[in-house]
Amino acid sequence: MGMEQVWLLPAIPAGIFVVIALFSRILPRGGDWLAILGLITVTVLGVLVLIDFQGSFTGGHFDAHGNNVFAFDWIRVADDFFAIEFSTFVDAIAVTMIVVVSIVALMVMVYSVGYMHGEARYGWYFALLSFFTAAMLTLVVSGNMILLYLAWEGVGLASYLLIGFYWERRTAAEAAKKAFITTRIGDVGLLIGIILLWRATGSFDIQTIIEAARAGAIGETYLTVSMILLFAGAAGKSAQFPLHVWLPDAMEGPTPVSALIHAATMVVAGVYLVARFSPVYAEVLIARDVVLYIGLLTALMAATMGLVESDIKRVLAYSTVSQLGFMFVALGVGSVTAAMFHLFTHAFFKSLLFLGSGSVIHATEQQTVEQLGGLRRKLPLTATTFTIGSLALAGVPIFAGFFSKDEILLETLKGAPLAAYVALAFTAALTALYTTRLVVLTFFGEPRNRHAHEHAHEAPTSMAGPLVLLAALATVAGFVALDGVGKALGFAGGFGELVFLEEGHHFKLDPAVAFGATAASLVAIALGWAYWSGAAERAARARRWAPELHALLVNRYYLDNLYQAAIDRVVLGLARVVAWFDKRIINETGVDGGAQTIGYFGLRLKFLQTGRIPNYALAMAVGLAAIALLAFGTQ
């Protein structure tokens, strides 16, 4: 098993999807074991691919490693003129993604055995998870833009079906619809971008496109527009402003799904796409600045919204949006290393947080912080692992998030205006603040809902296992960037250089940045602790402090309302006009009107047909006389 057989990674879960989807009713346990067995195989094979990649890796330049493995002709018209060759491509980015996707997917599947126990459509759930994994793995190993788009929409479909998993709930159905349509708007940009790049290079092969762009074969304005359009697709998938509105609503899906799809894997597809094209973004700095500032705005905005949200899952969703913004900021200053590193650590600690919140919901059947509190005594394991995840998210030293966030801050300081750095550092402090609030309100203080509190019980083993494993990863995943650790793990040039692309990039903490960020986080945590750990009613005081600001944040900057109004007024208004035009003008005036006009003439003219001989004789006589006159007159 090596890089040539990497197509097996998506093929295995794809096959399992078909089997479970068709036969889940006759398979024992709905086939969940089959899905997990498949994922274990994929994880093992993924590690083999990593080892093979490591063996052939010679270090050095960006496009020197990675290999394009020909698979097959999907479409071929007029030889090479219009050809779509589905191929796989394995490089450091792809390997990183394979590791992240297979580990998190496996954890989530094991967790789901406990969490989804006894649900209706249990088999269908595992079929969908397998389908998602297949599509996601296809996405990350695809060497061709169309194959990537196919997988891109495939994960979108999986997301749609899983958000709407509890489709009996109207809100779930609406959330699924909103997610699909919002990302679809971004995908309009992505598809146009793909087509524009084909138009300029005659190829759908990703590496061919990148080489052509770097060689200057594409006009600068044209390339800028294309890359911004690609980013539109990325922004839709990765929930960046102004297309971020779907992700908080997507929390209607089962919680393990939120952990897998809406925290660790699918939503980072946009980051992956921009990272994949980073050499091209380096050529068009305007497009890269768009990535930077959209990312920055999103990070800040989402963090502020996370501060007032009371639904535990939605807080995490805003946090995800915000952290994705961090990754785009890193890409926007040209540091793929920092972005991929943060993607890597974030996948572990954020899926941990989601699974932890799932454990809370499972135990209490409540998910707003107003109904929680004091759970640390009832759910010690969940509370501990959740706190570890939170510390990682808040960027407290030694936890994974500290290393990667520090890397992003450092790169921003180097590559962007100071104001951007300040805004990002402020957002990082906000992150610590809302995280503290969430932990305090959920696990500390006094229980606010006695009934739910009393019935709470710790999660079963199948759920606890993944929590512990992910907590371990959330603690240590940052260390891999350290040179010594990388070498100890068997990576000659250090893990950082291998996975995070840049030659000679050695992770080094900048004392000033690290100290500043840590201090800010700790201050924010302390403030948050002091404020929210007191009496329950004090938590509500923020509302009275600045009611307008609070309303603005709670209403999500009124963007959802704005979009809804735009759809209702503009789109449906236009539809009303068009439907009116079709009914009144084309149908009633044109078609029916035409028929009625003819009918009218028939009605009138029929009186000429009187049936009386004298009338006809008179008409004939007049006619003959007229002809005779004409005939003689012209002579």
Binding site: F81, I146, E168, R169, E174, L196, W198, R199, L574, V591
Partner: protein, 496 residues
């Protein structure tokens, strides 16, 4: 394909005609015999269609399986070739033959539910299918037009007798508009016949004729509008939503699935192939009407509350893509247009099959009246979602393969139009997902608890159609290997 395969092409329209004759001889009370006969006939048509498709491979000359039977030569106006029964297919026609085979197989199965005058229903249906097959395989202009009309005329009776929802109005509107279109086609055919001057109706002579450019510019739009009316070309589309809404299930399936493609096929054969310069002159107009139809149909569909009207406007939108693709005059756009004819044919047949399967029980098609139907009819809902996803261009299903080609073709012709075409796909997603959300999801309303899952013949038909959607979506090369060389080597005026 060898010459002997020509007999397969001949059989394609003789089987339904013969079956119609046999049905006439069968007493109406012998229901079992009728069902047995139609089962056999539909299977035969399907197998013959698949056989023709598989056997075809492009080898240089345009038409394969050519068979000629002289009928009237050297009489009156008729010259050496005169009137002949001449069959033969190219890659475009053979794809349409396959489409017809698939749709009639499913269409026959679901029509066994028809209890009112079953025999007469099938007689008319098979006459219609004979006309459809005949038009696709015929290479003689006289017979082409004869069979084209044969495909259209039974529609009136099928809708007016077996239809629903303002069926007389729908049938009359459809018939009047299509006959008006036929008059234009008829005029153009005679103008070309006279202009050709050899007294022949052999279509290959017309393809080679290269008529005077001014002549082409005058008569191309006649063909485009005449055939375009049947193809649902904006603004000659109003018969389509009303007609589909009124027609019984199998007729909607065949009509939207196959007959509308006949219109587009006519624009290719009689329009672009016989009058390429006229086609080149009017191509921008076709693009304009095509993209207008795509947007207009999609936006109208946003407001529809009747499932069949929604699908009808969706058809207008998707057929707009076909005309847009033809208007690009490049190989990719054309490839997309023909693929879209196939893809839309299958997906819309599936739509109508499913709507019919539900309407027959509920007698209601109003979207707001339904909720949470996935609980009561899960199989139905799953098939519906597959058709819908194909319709909104989800990669991996048939619609995307076609639309990708059309988008790229449009970008090569006019990038702005290409951009609008991609945008249309997002609007399509919007109206379909709104419908999904409203009809399938949410709390189930007990009002419909008497509804049953679709019947086994319906499931079988839906499986065939959905299977075709997936196969074309994942493995499009069998189609492209037949269609693309035909376009590249034999369609004049279409460039890379």
């Amino acid at each position: 394909m060898t010459e002997s395969d020509g007999y397969v092409l001949l059989a394609l329209f003789l089987v339904p005609l013969g079956s119609a004759l046999l049905l006439m001889l069968t007493p109406s009370r012998e229901r079992t015999a009728i069902i047995g006969l139609t089962a056999l006939a539909s299977l035969a048509m399907f197998v013959l269609s698949v056989y023709a498709f598989v056997r075809y491979s492009f080898v240089g000359e345009q038409f394969q399986g050519v068979l000629t039977f002289g009928w009237m030569q050297n009489v009156g106006l008729l010259g050496e070739h005169g009137l002949q029964l001449k069959v033969g297919v190219d890659g475009i026609a053979v794809s349409m033959v396959l489409l017809t085979g698939i749709v009639i197989l499913a269409g026959t199965w679901v029509s066994w539910k028809v209890t009112d005058r079953t025999k007469d229903f099938f007689i008319l249906l098979y006459v219609l299918v004979a006309g459809v097959y005949g038009t696709f395989v015929m290479l003689d202009l006289f017979f082409w037009f004869f069979l084209y009309e044969l495909a259209v005329l039974p529609m009136y009776l099928l809708i007016a007798v077996w239809g629903s929802t303002r069926k007389e109005y729908g049938a009359m509107k459809l018939m009047m508009m299509l006959v008006a279109g036929s008059i234009l086609i008829f005029t153009a055919i005679f103008a070309m016949f006279v202009e050709l001057g050899t007294g022949s109706f052999d279509m290959t002579e017309y393809f080679a004729a290269s008529f005077d450019p001014t002549f082409q510019k005058i008569f191309f739009p006649m063909v485009a509008v005449g055939c375009g009316t049947l193809g649902g070309l904006f603004p000659f589309h109003p018969w389509s939503p009303d007609g589909h809404a009124a027609a019984p299930t199998a007729v909607s399936m065949l009509h939207a699935g196959v007959l509308m493609k006949l219109g587009a096929f006519g624009v290719i054969r009689l329009g672009f192939q016989m009058m390429p310069e006229g086609g080149a002159f009017w191509a921008p107009a076709l693009i304009l009407l095509g993209i207008t139809a795509a947007l207009y149909g999609a936006i109208s569909a946003l407001r529809q509350t009747d499932l069949k009207l929604l699908t009808g406007f969706s058809s207008v939108s998707h057929m707009g893509y076909v005309f847009l693709g033809l208007g690009t005059l490049n190989v990719i756009g054309w490839n997309g247009a023909v693929l879209q004819m196939f893809a839309h044919g299958v997906m819309t047949a599936l739509f109508f099959l499913l709507i019919g399967g539900m309407y027959d029980q509920s007698h209601d098609r109003e979207i707001p009246n339904f909720s949470g139907m996935a609980r009561q009819m899960p199989v139905w809902a799953i098939f519906f979602v597959i058709a819908g996803l194909a319709s909104l261009g989800l990669p991996g299903l048939s619609g995307f393969v076609a639309e990708l080609h059309i988008f790229i073709g449009a970008f090569r012709a006019y990038p702005v139009v290409g951009g609008l075409a991609v945008l249309t796909a997002a609007i399509t997603a919007t109206y379909l997902l709104r419908m999904f959300s409203s009809v399938f999801f949410g709390e189930f309303s007990t009002r419909w608890s008497a509804l049953k899952e679709i019947t086994w013949p319906e499931r079988a038909g839906a499986t065939v159609l959905a299977g075709s959607i997936v196969v074309l979506g994942l493995w499009p090369s069998p189609w492209i290997d037949r269609i693309a060389p035909t376009i590249i080597h034999t369609i004049p005026g279409v460039t890379l």
